[in-house]
Amino acid sequence: MSSYFKTLLFAALVGVCTIIACKKDDDTPAVEASLYDRLGGITAISAVVDQFIANVVADNTINGRFAATVANPSRARLLRLNLIDQVCAGAGGPCSYKGMTMKEAHTGMNITQAEFNALVGDLVAALDQFNVPEKEKNELLAILGPMQTDIVGQ
């Protein structure tokens, strides 16, 4: 057998093995994408956070709390970025949250349960406006829900 023929045979063998290996991969159950990917990545998260903040600012029951933030564009920008990073990192995305802990950020504010519920309502409205599926919505709320104890009544 000529060396040319041997090489051709070897290449064909490698090709067949690769196809079989890929086929096997297809058969194994796919690992579910992270919540970050399922939400649509950073652009989708930032769109939802923008809508969420806009909903909060329009909401008379809690917007007084954010008066100083809205009055100062740099402060509003920082809060927006912190919220985006927090949601992105919590959802398993490539972000790092560099803001205060929830306890540090909300201590001294005496936030009531009703205010917390109003804010969550504004978040749910934002998620619904972007037609985020129920599963992803619940996963996101489950990440933020446990923060309640560090936010309410501090």
């Binding site: 990545g41 950073i42 652009t43 930032s46 769109a47 923008d50 809508q51 903040i53 806009a54 909903n55 600012v57 329009a58 909401d59 008379n60 917007n63 007084g64 954010f66 008066a67 100083a68 809205v70 009055a71 100062n72 564009p73 740099s74 402060r75 509003a76 920008r77 920082l78 927006r80 970025l81 985006i84 990073d85 992105c88 995305g93 490539p94 972000c95 790092s96 560099k98 001294g108």
Partner: protein, 155 residues
């Protein structure tokens, strides 16, 4: 000269350390354009008119989110630097007979950070610049000293 060099090394090292501690680690959000929020009292005749304003504004370039709350009659627009509150107001005014009014939020008096956020945000960048600057000065001093030594060697 020795004191100057030592000071430069110390400043460079301290500034670099400060920058390393304060810098924001790379994040996917770094690519996002900054956004501001402007609130208007819409003065809409009815909730449908307010909602129509919101839907119209949603389509404008540089607007990333719009929220209209019928209960508060507030129309809030999240926008990039393409817009200012004044330009948004004049554009909105072309869509309605009763021009919306910019809502001024007055911060409640109370304990607030005395250092403006803008300054706090600038600190890491300032520290990095300081570190780079003192390293360049240090390198300059060393080159200067070497040149002087070479010149004296050939003389």
């Amino acid at each position: 000269m020795k004191v100057l060099k030592f000071s430069m090394v110390m400043i460079s090292a301290a500034a670099m350390l400060g920058w390393l501690i304060l810098r924001k680690p790379a994040s996917a959000s770094d690519i996002l354009e900054p956004v501001c929020y402007t609130a208007f009292i819409s003065h809409a005749s009815d909730p449908e008119a307010g909602q129509a304003l919101a839907l119209a504004a949603q389509e404008w370039e540089g607007v990333s989110a719009v929220s209209y709350n019928a209960g508060s009659d507030l129309l809030v627009i999240a926008h990039t630097d393409l817009w200012t509150p004044a330009t948004l107001k004049s554009r909105l005014s072309t869509l309605t007979s009763t021009p919306p009014q910019i809502k001024q939020f007055t911060p409640s008096p109370g304990a607030q950070c005395p250092v403006p956020v803008e300054i706090v945000e600038m600190i890491p960048g300032f520290l990095l610049s300081l570190s780079i600057f003192s390293t360049i000065v240090l390198a300059g001093l060393m080159v200067f000293k070497r040149k002087k030594a070479l010149v004296s060697l050939y003389q």
